[in-house]
Each structure stands twice: as structure tokens, then as C-alpha cells.
């Protein structure tokens, strides 16, 4: 069983903290929905709305953790057989491509957040900005963590195994 991540200082693990709290909210909301259905005359109508919103945050901030720790799996069956110098060129190309992609995702989610200030959720009447803005922040974190992985190209599979254990 893995211990709480101790490889990075706490302020770098803020992504993980947000994702964990969101996971608790996700599971807790669904459970509360079942409880109110049986124990109260009026079941809580907001539970799935909160659960799906928190779930989106869990996924995006959790994915940022994946970027920080190099946990997103890749397929190296082809590149593995190329000369070392070619491999480095491919890795640098990937690094640049992903940096541009994370930046683009951040911008798109920021645009979504800005354009939905007057679009409200059904149950809680919250502006959709509340849903999208944290996702833009998560994408920004992915970008920053990714930039910080310059030189550490590969997915860290051995770390995966330790995590699973």
C-alpha cells in the first residue's frame, strides 16, 4: 500500500489535495442521495449535480497529479528500438507538443468559464463558471508540472508499481 506522496513538497501537491477532497464530495453526495431517498420525505435533488461537478474536478486535478508524477502510460514498443539520439529528439518533440496542448486546453476552459457566467445549473442555480474555472486551473497546473519535467521524458512505470503495492 502506498504512503501519502512524499516526493514533492506539500505546496506542489495542491493538485492532489483538491482531487482527494473532490473525490470525497463525489462519493459523499451519491451516498447522501440514497440516504435522503429513504429517510426523508423529500430526497435531495442536488446530489448528482454536485457529484458530477466534483467528479470532473477529481479527474482533472488527478490528471495533473499524473502529469507531475509521470503516471500517464505510453507505448514504447516502437521507439525503444530506435537509436538513443533519435529517442531524445522524439522525447523533446513530445514535450513541446504536450506543453502547447496543455496551454491550449487551459485557454479553452478559461473561455468556457468566461462565457458561461450567465448559464446556471439546474438544481443549485450556480453559474457554470463554477464548474469550468477549476478545470482551467487544473490545465494550467498540468502545463506547469509538465514544463517542470524537462529532461525527465519517460512515464515513470516503476513508480506505478510501487503505488499499486
Amino acid at each position: 500500500m502506498s504512503e501519502p506522496v512524499a516526493r514533492d513538497p506539500w505546496w506542489l501537491r495542491i493538485d492532489e489535495g483538491i482531487a482527494v477532497v473532490s473525490l470525497v464530495v463525489t462519493v459523499g453526495s451519491v451516498v447522501w442521495g440514497v440516504v435522503t431517498r429513504y429517510l426523508f420525505p423529500q430526497p435531495a435533488a442536488w446530489t448528482y449535480e454536485v457529484a458530477t461537478m466534483a467528479f470532473a474536478w477529481t479527474v482533472f486535478f488527478g490528471a495533473a497529479t499524473g502529469v507531475r508524477r509521470g503516471l500517464h502510460a505510453d507505448i514504447d514498443i516502437f521507439v525503444h528500438y530506435l537509436p538513443e539520439r533519435w529517442q531524445t529528439v522524439i522525447d523533446i518533440g513530445n514535450w513541446v507538443l504536450l506543453a502547447v496542448f496543455f496551454a491550449a486546453m487551459g485557454v479553452l476552459f478559461a473561455q468556457l468559464a468566461a462565457s458561461t457566467t450567465h448559464v446556471y445549473t439546474v438544481a443549485l442555480s450556480l453559474p457554470q463558471t463554477v464548474t469550468y474555472a477549476p478545470l482551467a486551473l487544473a490545465c494550467l497546473m498540468m502545463l506547469l508540472y509538465h514544463l517542470g519535467r524537462w529532461g525527465r521524458w519517460r512515464a515513470t512505470n516503476p513508480e506505478d508499481v510501487e503505488d499499486i503495492i
Binding site: 504512503e3 473525490l23 462519493v27 467528479f55 470532473a56 488527478g62 514498443i77 479553452l108
Partner: protein, 437 residues
């Protein structure tokens, strides 16, 4: 869009996959390229919305809950109790530790949802014990990784939840459909293990069968945990909660029995367990989100219909079609990791399956079994990698030892393909032949 522009995103994806771009981002970038190439026909913000949509599925809400329940289980001392049950059940058999591994894999399968987690757990517990008792490291790695495959078929299986979402199939029926194939796989593993163990002289762990008293005591000790699959099936069957809600209920139930029932789990462990569950769930979920965005492109350009067009000539004969798809998946599975292949291939194959009149639930069991078997095939088998890493087995030795097990699994795969009743009998019995859960 021109034909070149229509196919470019697919080519981008395959090129990036070959060039070691992480699978999730390769799919997402390929999807993004479609929006860029559409020349404003589809706004770019729609790409962000499609990625986001992957997280808005009610059925996928079950995924993090079941992952969390599995992580709590693994941390709560349940494995020790299940080892005890396995020991009293098969400890008297030849090659007892290897047989115990299969039984433990079956018991864990009904609890933890993740084959990877189970492979690690089996290798750490029984695998290391096997090495201490002079079983070969490669054999120990093979049996621990093979037993973990059972997890992907027994409820609550993450693979089946993902398939249910992508194929728009009933997750409740899929859960029930996996039980008989899972038990058949366990039986097959035990037969192959028995033959190998007799030839090599691997010993029993106890001289006589366990007494009825020992058996009852062990079962009573593990009863709380073993009730979980029953709660899921019974709860959804009788409408107490939905499959999605069952995940959250089980997570709370598991936390309760870990703290109050078994008293081997403290709140101090909780942050680590939550972090582990979050990582495991979000890595898979982000891949599904990327697949969701890619799915928009695939549907827009009718890529699945075109790519599987040559297969559709076989749609008149569902059995032949299933066998050909199996063969294709086995070859693909040696190169692409199982869950990634599941996420990429399901949307492509489902239209074809519908055209051939094959039941989606039946196909889901065949597909998930096939792709999880890929987990023990070199060179990219994830389960193989985990068990070998923990037990220090060499890939060449592993490749040799795994052959009889692979042979048995291929036979099982053919049986599952040819006889849909093996998958459909139980869900039809529980939910009714026409019910949608």
C-alpha cells in the same frame, strides 16, 4: 471536409502512439486536430466541452467509488482473512500455494475492482511465499498475474463499467454476466496449475483437508467482505439502489467494516488510501475523457463503419465475426495496454456488433476477457509487468511459463464466443431476458 482532412486525426493518433506520446494525450491531441481542421465548422470550445462530457456520465460515477472501496479493502487486513479461507479450501492440494493464489484472486476479484491492484497484492502476499517455498520466480509471477485476470470479470469490475459506458450497455447485467466466465477461468487456472505442480513436485501446505470447523471459522471471519458482490447484485436487482449508487454505498460499507468490523484500519491511513484511489481513478478517467472527444470525431466522420467495413462482410455469421475480432484483439493486445485498447476499440466495434445481432453484454464479456488476457502477454502486458517486477522474474522465463495458461485462456475465449449462454444465462435469470438495468 476533404478525405485527407477526415482521416488525418486518426493518422495523428496512431503516429503519436507509435512516437511514445502518452496514450491519453495522443487521443486528445488527435481529437483536437479534428476541431482545428474543421475550419470553424465545429467551434474549438466544443473540444473542451467534449473532454468535460466524459466526466458527466452517471454510470461512470461508479468507477471512483469502486476503486476507493478496493483501496480501503487492500489496506484493511482483509487479504490476510481471505488467504486463510483459501488455505482451508485448497491447502491440501498439490501445488497448494499456487492453487491458493487462484482462490484468493477469485475472492479478491469480488472486492477490489482493479486487476492491477490484485496482481500486486497477490505477488506481494502469496507470490513471495511461493518463491520462499522454491517455486520458480517466473511461475509465481505467471500464476499471480493470471489469477488477477479473474478480477476483470467478477463484479465490481472497472473494465465492465467502462465498457458499459462506451457501449451503452447495462452495467448491472454486465456484472452478472461476468460471474460464470470468471469462475470458469478460475477452474481452468486450477487445472493447469495442478498439472504443472504434479510434474514439478510442488507440495501441499497441509497434510489433510481442513475440518468443517476450520472451514466455518475461516468463512465466518471473511463473511463481511465476501458479502460485497451479493450486496451489489441484490441491491441493484431489487431496486434498492442503482449500480452507480452501489459503488458509493460499498465504499462507505467497506470503510465501516474496515474500522468497526475488522478494526485493522485507522483514520491515519485514510489520506494515503484516498490519494491512491484518486490517482488510479483519474488516470483511467482522463483517458476516457480523451476517448469521449475522439468519439465525437469518429462519429462525425463515420470512421468506425469505414474501418470495420471489411469485417461487416462477416456480420451474417456472428460466431465467425466474434472469432475474427478475437484474433484481431489478441494481436493488438500484444502491443497496446488492455484498458487503452478497450477505450479505443469499443466505439469502433459496437456498430458492427449491433449489425451482426450480437448481444452487447455477451460481446462485453468476450472483449474484456480478451483484453485482460493481453495483460499477461509480452511485451506490454501490465499484469505481467507488475508481478514480474515484484517477484524479480525475467521476461524470457515468464514468456515460457505463461504458455500453458495462455493456451487454456484461448480455449475459454473460444467457448465464451461460441456459447453466449455462458455469459447471458445468469443476467437473464436475475434481471429477466429483456430487462435493462
Amino acid at each position: 471536409m476533404s478525405a485527407v482532412a477526415a482521416w488525418l486525426p486518426a493518422l495523428v493518433m496512431f503516429a503519436l502512439l507509435l512516437l511514445r506520446t502518452p496514450i491519453t494525450w495522443a487521443m486528445a491531441i488527435a481529437a483536437f486536430s479534428f476541431y482545428l481542421l474543421s475550419g470553424g465548422m465545429v467551434p474549438l470550445t466544443a473540444f473542451a466541452q467534449e473532454i468535460f462530457e466524459g466526466t458527466q456520465s452517471i454510470s461512470l460515477l461508479a468507477l471512483p467509488s469502486f476503486v476507493l472501496a478496493g483501496c480501503i479493502m487492500n489496506a484493511s487486513g482483509i487479504t490476510r482473512r481471505l488467504v486463510r479461507i483459501a488455505e482451508v479450501l485448497v491447502g491440501h492440494m498439490t501445488g497448494a500455494l499456487a492453487q491458493m493464489c487462484t482462490v484468493l484472486g477469485t475472492l479478491l476479484g469480488g472486492l477490489t475492482a482493479s486487476a492491477n491492484a490484485d496482481a500486486a497484492m497477490l505477488a506481494k502476499t502469496i507470490g513471495t511465499e511461493m518463491v520462499a517455498y522454491r517455486y520458480s520466480r517466473a511461475f509465481a509471477a505467471v500464476i499471480t498475474s493470471s489469477a488477477a485476470i479473474i478480477t476483470s470479470l467478477l463484479p465490481p469490475s472497472i473494465g465492465l463499467i467502462i465498457y458499459g459506458y462506451l457501449a451503452e450497455a447495462s452495467v448491472g447485467r454486465l456484472f452478472a454476466a461476468g460471474i460464470i466466465p470468471g469462475l470458469l477461468l478460475a477452474g481452468g487456472l486450477m487445472i493447469v496449475t495442478h498439472i504443472t505442480a504434479r510434474r514439478r513436485g510442488y507440495k501441499a501446505q497441509r497434510e489433510t483437508r481442513a475440518s468443517r470447523g476450520e472451514l466455518l471459522a475461516a468463512l465466518r471471519d471473511g463473511l463481511w467482505a465476501m458479502s460485497i458482490p451479493v450486496i451489489i447484485i441484490a441491491g441493484t436487482r431489487y431496486g434498492v439502489f442503482t449500480t452507480t449508487e452501489s459503488g458509493a454505498i460499498i465504499a462507505v460499507y467497506v470503510l465501516f467494516i474496515a474500522i468497526v468490523g475488522y478494526r485493522e484500519f485507522s483514520f491515519r491511513q485514510l489520506p494515503g488510501v484516498l490519494a491512491e484511489a484518486t490517482r488510479d481513478a483519474s488516470i483511467v478517467m482522463m483517458m476516457i475523457c480523451a476517448a469521449s472527444a475522439l468519439g465525437f470525431y469518429l462519429a462525425w466522420e463515420a470512421v468506425p463503419q469505414t474501418m470495420t467495413g471489411w469485417l461487416s462482410t462477416m456480420a451474417g455469421n456472428p460466431v465467425v465475426l466474434l472469432l475474427v475480432i478475437n484474433l484481431m484483439l489478441i494481436i493488438l493486445g500484444t502491443a497496446i495496454e488492455g484498458s487503452a485498447a478497450l477505450i479505443i476499440l469499443t466505439p469502433m466495434l459496437i456498430p458492427l456488433i449491433g449489425q451482426a445481432g450480437i448481444d452487447k453484454v455477451h460481446f462485453g464479456i468476450v472483449l474484456v476477457t480478451n483484453l485482460t488476457i493481453a495483460g499477461i502477454t509480452p511485451p506490454v502486458g501490465g499484469l505481467m509487468y507488475i508481478s514480474s517486477q515484484v517477484l524479480g522474474a525475467r521476461m524470457l522465463d515468464y514468456s515460457r511459463e505463461v504458455l500453458p495458461y495462455l493456451g487454456m485462456m484461448m480455449i475459454l475465449l473460444v467457448l465464451l464466443s461460441v456459447f453466449p449462454q455462458l455469459s447471458l444465462w445468469l443476467p437473464d435469470l436475475i434481471y429477466g431476458a429483456r430487462a435493462v438495468q
